[in-house]
Amino acid sequence: MVPVECYFVLSALLFFIGVYGFVTRRNLIAMLISIELVLNAVDINFAAFNRLLFPGEFEGFFMTLFSMGVSAAESAVAIAIIINVYRNFHSDQVNSIENMKY
């Protein structure tokens, strides 16, 4: 069995790689992809905690399942907003929507 520390270190690394991408990228879709990395890191942690520290219970399992559904819905709405922004500003960089109106 893999020791649980390995999962912690892996998910912490994945989380902060996602944070780094979120801070440095200026493209809306690239920022959204970084958010997906962060969410996946959190899901790994939920599943590993549940399986290795509390076997026989299912809180982490269902938290992961529901967080998958929520993140699917979130990225669908975010992509709709990005397409609308592109249609109005003809650009998908963050700097172009500083005023939040057009």
């Binding site: 994945l14 200026r26 879709i29 929520v70």
Partner: protein, 174 residues
């Protein structure tokens, strides 16, 4: 032992793909590397014997969300596809790297200093049965999850309608 070897392979795939995903300049390549990260995470769920979770990860994330990103990139990002490179300021990248490193060290030290980590050996290598998952998902007792299940279906419906309303092209008012 086989588990540890598989975990190592998956960890290398996940971390390498994630680094490439945030480091590459082209948005299409970032989406492709995101797909590899998602496959790796699904593999981790299979190692943890959560096969249902792994299957859900494959079908929702790798099958659904990545497709949606690729469609959005094709719709939005005409110039990037023709090789526009994104400018990342050096000072911003260095600052972000420092902040990231500090956060990573903090989180890792906090997690590894804890004393609750040593029950791992007791877990038997057996799959969680689909029966148990299904009963917990639609039961209404304590530790059963029919209410969030219904909530998330309503939430998905709201997001579908919201997405359509936001992305719809409005008619010009005269």
């Amino acid at each position: 032992m086989a588990n540890i070897i598989m975990f190592g392979i998956l960890a290398v795939v996940i971390l390498g793909s994630a680094v490439m995903c945030v480091a590459t300049k082209r948005i299409m390549r970032a989406a492709t590397f995101l797909l590899f990260v998602l496959f790796g995470v699904a593999g981790l769920y299979f190692i943890l014997d959560y096969t249902f979770l792994g299957a859900a990860q494959l079908s929702i994330y790798a099958g659904g969300i990545t497709m949606m990103y690729i469609f959005a990139i094709q719709l939005v990002n005409r110039r990037t596809l023709q090789g526009l490179v994104e400018h990342v300021k050096g000072s911003r990248a260095i600052g972000a790297a420092l902040v990231t490193l500090a956060g990573f060290l903090t989180v890792t030290i906090v997690l590894l200093k804890n004393e609750f980590l040593f029950r791992a050996c007791e877990v038997a290598d057996e799959e969680v049965s689909m029966n148990v998952i299904g009963e917990a998902l639609v039961g209404s007792e304590k530790y059963q999850y029919v209410l969030p299940f219904e909530f998330i279906s309503v939430f998905l419906l709201a997001c579908i309608i919201g997405g359509i309303v936001v992305a719809r092209k409005e008619k010009e008012d005269k």
